[in-house]
């Protein structure tokens, strides 16, 4: 297991180097001069030239890339063009929000999706199965922009129980430890703030969870159906194992690999910023940061964001692979 981890971590460096090179070239291929975007309708040529010089955009791209790599190995990702802040600061300020939202959505998806899929498989073709299958189809195809607004209208405007946007009551101040507000408020023992953070998280997490929930549910059902038809399940039943034990222990464990695979993929996607959900709920995550960076041609910030996305994907894939090892003894070579 340790060997696997070591090998994967060693691969991280070349993968990231490739990502950096591609992103570096790609962001410069977007038409539109950052100096024009920053200075807007007011730009004069002298001001734009001066700005391009200040930003280092007038140097050959190879020189720019070498400079960027040089900074990167020292942990310096440059400064954002629009805010002037270090990119590391910007990303670090926003990533925990995305992490909190993604983990909450993923937890919802797994806690509801797996039992639902399992139940649907066991009661195949029953009305519950039909309902679950239909609901997951709706979940996958639902425009989440619309769903978010409907949830807001119901829970905020009508029932007035859940707040509309943001992460915390505006009057609360939470000194950040991890940046995950649920965790920070608990660690500080600030229960009113914890309650506020939970209330603020509810609607965005629910909105964001719909698609992964449906995907996980469907995958669980399909994987379970396949496993339940196999000989060893009949053997287990013949040995007199109870229905509950057969389903949860014998079947689910073997159905788990595809479930873990889709969950891992979903986790990677959620962590790269759920742009739409973040926008509707003004959730200050990294997805919105990256989109803003594209529009303002904020090259260093965009590069920083994509780097974080790549890193996240690689780490999530690593965790998924480790989960395989635990679930399937045959893979522990």
């Amino acid at each position: 297991m340790i060997k696997v981890v070591a090998r994967r971590l060693a691969l991280l460096a070349p993968i990231l180097l490739g990502v950096v090179a591609i992103v570096f070239a790609a962001v410069r291929l977007i038409p539109g001069d950052p100096a024009t975007v920053i200075l807007g309708e007011r730009a004069t040529e002298a001001a734009k030239a001066a700005l391009r010089h200040d930003l280092g955009l007038d140097r050959p791209i190879a020189v720019q890339f070498a400079g960027y790599l040089g900074g990167l190995v020292q942990g310096d990702l440059g400064r954002s063009l629009s805010t002037g802040n270090p990119v590391l600061y910007e990303v670090a300020a926003r990533f925990p929000a995305t992490l909190e939202l993604a983990l909450a959505a993923l937890a919802l998806a797994m806690l509801i999706g797996v039992p639902l899929g399992l139940y649907a498989a066991v009661r195949r073709n029953s009305w519950i199965d039909q309902l679950a299958t239909g609901a997951s189809l709706v979940g996958v195809s639902m425009p989440i922009f619309w769903l978010g607004l409907v949830l807001m209208l119901v829970f905020s405007a009508q029932m007035r129980v859940l707040p509309l946007s943001g992460r915390l009551d505006l009057a609360s101040e939470v000194a950040p430890l991890t940046g995950l507000y649920l965790l920070d408020t608990l660690l500080r023992g600030d229960l009113p703030a914890f309650r506020s953070a939970a209330l603020h998280l509810a609607l965005p997490a629910l909105t964001l969870a719909t698609v992964p929930l449906a995907v996980v549910g469907r995958m669980t059902r399909a994987a379970m159906l396949e496993v339940l038809g196999q000989d060893y399940i009949r053997t287990a039943r013949a040995k007199g194992a109870g229905e509950h034990r057969v389903n949860w222990k014998h079947a689910l464990r073997n159905a788990a690999i595809p479930i873990v695979t889709v969950s891992g993929l979903q986790a990677g996607t959620l962590l790269s910023g759920a742009v739409i959900t973040e926008t509707i709920f003004s959730w200050p995550g990294i997805g919105g940061l990256a989109v803003g960076a594209v529009f303002s041609r904020d090259f260093p910030l965009l590069q920083g964001c994509v780097l974080v996305f790549a890193l996240t994907f690689v780490l999530v894939n690593l965790l998924t692979d480790l989960a395989y090892q635990i679930l399937d003894p045959r893979l522990r070579a």
Partner: protein
């Protein structure tokens, strides 16, 4: 008081701000030497009590308000003023100091003559210097804090303004608290919180819903979907403030590109567009904007009220086109902005209505758009024929509009702000003279003449002046719209 905006601030260093969302915050933290009078574009003393201009109009001497302290308790004296000017000449890494480069190239040495006297020498006379000093970018900063934080001063702003900076959680909130020692008296609000709510419809919903689950609710906002206007007017809990802003949206006619080189064709375009109808369709029949007659808004001094607007007259437009040699009509590209601005809420849709108007006089228009940065680049290059574009004024002076739009020095390919590429030596001379003339009445007369000439030459179709607006809950008192778009909270209280 919680005020919801459509975007978070970028930077809170006033000299380094280039966007309205940032200046909306910094203007409450910092004071300049001068400021715009409440709800006006005329200037009045702020940190400077009085000033004197030398006979050669190149040296300003300012007397400072005594006893003013920054929020960090250090004194706001002549040395601090000198520091605030000088730091903008040499940006640190990460700083742009864009406004200084754009507007203050005429400023020479700045000297502290004694603790309360500052001398500013200009390299050439500049009649727009004083209104420019009232812009947000000339807020006086605490030298102690600016030296301590360097480029990160942007996240730790310290000024002398009515509110002190407390905290900033990016994209969550910016918190300010009252400065009890402000020279104009303590503001009545204890705290102002700026909250970014990205979606227009969600922002309005938050304002309507107010407080949820006992938490602090949004009390005011800007940025409204035109479709939601009726909802606001019908809600007794809300109050809408609205007035024409310091902006203009227009159709730039590139005078270097045939057939737009011909003045008659350009005049025909002015006659062909039904601008009343555009305002009706896109500005809620005048509630969100008004028809523009001149390139600058009517609330600015020097506005030429006696310019006779082009009527909507398709027949005369056709006759002019025939006279110009296009009896069978002509083809024309009309560029439409891909982004929404107050002065151009739905660029593509407006382009399509213009296309329909032009078809009626025999002009076959094709609506073209580009991604925004590309659009600006191409327009600066003069790649367009007719293009929708607009402008938001920075300071309350006609120079900020007319010089930008019509001086030939701004018609250089690659960097034009004179998007008509209009060159007229007479207009150049008038604009230059107005920059130098000391007497406001004389300057106003020069600017009026410019407006008459450009009206006759029809290098534009002026279209709209958007109203700026704010929506407040009923209990919010003392908030007023400012022509410059500033959001000032010093005089606000909650009932």
């Amino acid at each position: 008081m919680v005020f919801a905006k459509s975007k978070d601030a970028n930077r809170l260093d006033p000299a380094d701000v280039t966007d309205g969302e940032s200046s909306a915050v910094t203007e409450n933290i910092f004071d300049g030497l001068l400021r715009f009078r409440d709800q006006s574009t005329e200037i009045e003393p702020a940190l400077a009590l009085s000033w004197h201009l030398s006979a050669d109009r190149r040296t300003y001497t300012f007397k400072l308000r005594p006893g003013v302290k920054f929020h960090d308790e250090t004194p706001c004296d002549a040395a601090a003023v000198k520091f605030s000017f000088d730091r903008q000449r040499k940006p640190l890494e990460g700083q742009l100091m864009e406004y200084w480069q754009s507007f203050f190239s005429a400023v020479g040495p700045v000297d502290a003559l004694d603790p309360l006297t500052v001398r500013v020498q200009l390299l050439r006379p500049d009649a727009t210097f004083l209104p420019k000093l009232a812009m947000f970018s000339m807020g006086i900063v605490s030298p102690t804090a600016a030296r301590k934080w360097g480029a990160d001063f942007s996240r730790h702003p310290v000024g002398t303004g009515p509110f002190r900076f407390v905290s900033w959680k990016p994209n969550e909130k910016i918190v300010l608290e009252a400065n009890p020692d402000h020279w104009a008296g303590r503001p009545r609000l204890d705290r102002v919180i700026f909250k970014p709510v990205l979606e227009n419809s969600v922002r309005l919903l938050e304002l309507e819903v107010g407080s949820v689950a006992g938490e602090a609710g949004v009390m005011g906002m800007d940025g409204l979907n035109p479709d939601d206007l009726q909802r606001v007017l019908a809600n007794p809990e809300l109050r809408l403030l609205s007035q024409p802003g310091l902006n203009v949206g227009y159709l730039a006619l590139n005078t270097t590109r045939p057939p737009l080189t011909d003045r008659r064709v350009r005049q025909a375009l002015n006659l062909a567009l039904d601008r009343q109808n555009l305002v009706k369709a896109f500005f809620a029949d005048g509630k969100l904007g008004v028809v523009a007659r001149n390139p600058m808004p009517p609330l600015l001094w020097g506005y030429a009220h006696d310019v006779a607007d082009y009527p909507h007259d398709p027949d005369r437009a056709r006759r002019l086109l025939a006279e110009a040699g296009y009896p069978g009509g002509l083809k024309l590209e009309v560029w439409a902005m891909p982004v929404a601005r107050p002065y151009m809420p739905l660029g593509l849709k407006i382009g399509e209505v213009i296309q329909a108007d032009l078809r009626k006089v025999g002009i076959d228009a094709e609506v073209v758009t580009h991604e925004w940065a590309t659009y600006l680049d191409k327009m600066g290059n003069g790649d367009h024929a007719a293009a929708l574009i607009g402008w938001v004024g920075d300071y309350g002076d006609p120079d900020n509009f007319l010089y930008t739009f019509f001086h030939s020095s701004n018609a250089r390919k690659g960097s034009a702000s004179n998007y008509a590429f209009y060159r007229n030596p007479r207009v150049d001379a008038l604009l230059d003279a107005a920059r130098e003339a000391p007497d406001p009445a004389r300057r106003a007369a020069l600017y009026r003449e410019v407006q008459h000439i450009v009206h006759e030459d029809a290098s534009w179709v002026p279209l709209f002046h958007a109203r700026q607006m704010a929506i407040l809950r009923k209990g919010v008192r003392g908030y007023a719209l400012q022509p410059t778009g500033s959001k000032l909270f010093a005089g606000v209280w909650l009932q």
